[in-house]
């Protein structure tokens, strides 16, 4: 699979149209997978692909990374789940479909965190998104690397995350408040969740605006609550639950849980799942006259 990938990268770079291949590679000590940016055909051996490639590289396509955009047309090594984020970016006009070459990787799952890796990919170290993955054979690509994977996701979303959400929904409101308040209070406002998110591509985030300041920027519970609520709200109907925010969080706030809850709501209410169609508008910018409104008096 890696040989196939390297060959493809070489072919693309030698072809001249692709200026940079964004992919996965080892760090110097060969202990962790980090992003690599290959600009010369002779460097393609640095590219690797294995179960440690959990990072979502699609962020490098957004306008957060002007230096990468300046290099020219990129090719990106992407798993099905990463392609979902690219698709949202395309549907929101952030990336042009013709302006990126997607090298889709067939995937049998990745580890939740690289630290958990002990030489073998087991179910219990895979994130919930892998247990429910319907894009192990990538859905929107320019070229596909690897053999087709045979996997049918369960009909009802399964895995630890969804079990937790279901359990959580049945708890009384005061317990839920206590749970989230405890988590959000620990927030240190490092904004790693925002920085790592492909879809938080605003050049000026609402939290950076101070005339007027809607969200307090100090790491105080009040501002933390506002920030985390608004972050989730701004991702409603857009988040693909890649889980990068949760992985990046230094204080382990279960951010993916809020995101997934909203994704479930959006699917239930609008029948929309983010990341499958480059033409469809995100649900929060369109409407249907018959949208449900049983909570409105």
């Amino acid at each position: 699979m890696e040989d196939q990938l390297r060959e493809k990268a070489k072919e693309l770079l030698e072809g001249g149209e692709i200026k940079v291949v964004i992919g996965y590679g080892w760090n110097n000590r060969k202990t962790r997978i980090t992003p690599v940016f290959i600009t010369k055909a002779e460097d393609v051996d640095k590219l690797v692909f294995n179960a440690l490639c959990v990072n979502n590289l699609s962020i490098y396509l957004t306008r957060k990374y002007k230096d990468i955009q300046a290099m020219g047309k990129p090719a990106i090594v992407a798993k099905g789940c990463d392609i979902k984020n690219i698709v949202v970016c395309i549907s929101e006009g952030q990336v042009e479909r013709d302006n990126v070459h997607i090298i889709g990787m067939t995937c049998s799952g990745v580890v939740y965190k690289q630290e958990l890796w002990q030489g073998e990919l087991k179910d219990n170290i895979m994130p919930s998104k892998c247990h429910n993955c319907d894009v192990r054979n990538p859905h929107i690509t320019d070229s596909v690397i690897g053999d087709p994977v045979d996997f049918t996701p369960p009909e009802e979303p399964a895995g630890m995350l969804f079990d937790k959400i279901r359990e959580f929904d049945s708890k009384p409101a005061s317990d839920r408040w206590e749970f989230w308040n405890e988590h959000f209070t620990r927030c240190v406002k490092c904004y790693a969740c925002r920085q790592v998110c492909t879809l938080c591509y605003c050049e000026r985030c609402i939290t950076d605006k101070n005339q007027p300041q809607w969200i307090e920027t100090s790491a105080h519970p009040r501002g933390n609550m506002a920030w985390n609520l608004i972050r989730a709200q701004h991702l409603a109907g857009r988040c693909t639950q890649c889980g990068e925010c949760e992985r990046a969080c230094p204080v382990n706030i279960p951010l993916n849980m809020v995101n997934s809850k909203l994704a479930l709501t959006v699917k239930e209410s609008f029948g929309y799942r983010a990341g499958y169609d480059t033409e469809e508008h995100p649900p929060m910018i369109v409407y249907k006259p018959e949208d449900e409104e049983d909570f409105i008096r």
Binding site: S174, R176, T185, A226, T265, M284, D291, E293
Partner: protein, 161 residues
């Protein structure tokens, strides 16, 4: 209406009357064309209703950012009331439809986070529905009064200060 003005209004409506015996403070974010006119009609018709509601007039429900609601709670509102034109009646054609989509998401988020949903109300009130407005304000005030002050949110306000 600029963001700065909206914020100043939310803040000013929440600090007044701090020392009076406890009465729920309800912040109402209403649309200029329907609910505000409806409330106006209630006033000119000499209808009486609970004085706990602080009205903030906005051009359209589509103008209501979820941040307004969070800010109102932050600044001490015990309940928030959001109201605008009935579907199909929007002065700007579709503002309330967009708002409704946003609320569906935000409502589910607030519920998930554990905010008591008796403190957050959404409604459609047209310019002629003064009676509905009066009933709604009375109902919401009564409900929130039963719940007592929004201590949970006030606690996070105090934490660490």
């Amino acid at each position: 209406m600029s963001n700065a003005k909206v914020k100043a209004e939310i803040v000013s409506k929440e600090v007044e009357g701090k020392d009076a015996p406890w009465e729920p403070r309800i912040t109402a974010l209403v649309c200029n064309w329907c609910t505000y006119a409806g409330a106006d009609l209630a006033g000119t018709s000499r209808m009486e209703y609970r004085p706990n509601v602080r009205i903030i007039k906005l051009p359209c429900t589509g103008r209501i950012d979820p941040l307004f609601i969070i800010k109102a709670f932050e600044k001490g509102a015990d309940g928030v009331l959001v109201s605008g034109c009935h579907p199909g009646d929007c002065h700007y054609n579709a503002g309330n439809y967009h708002a409704r989509r946003r609320w569906i998401g935000f409502n589910s988020l607030m519920e998930f986070i554990g905010i008591d949903m008796k403190r957050l109300h959404f409604s459609w009130i047209s310019a002629s529905e003064a009676i509905k407005w009066v009933d709604l304000v009375n109902d919401v005030t009564e409900e929130v009064k039963k719940l007592g002050p929004f201590g949970e949110y006030q606690d996070i306000n105090k934490d660490g200060l």
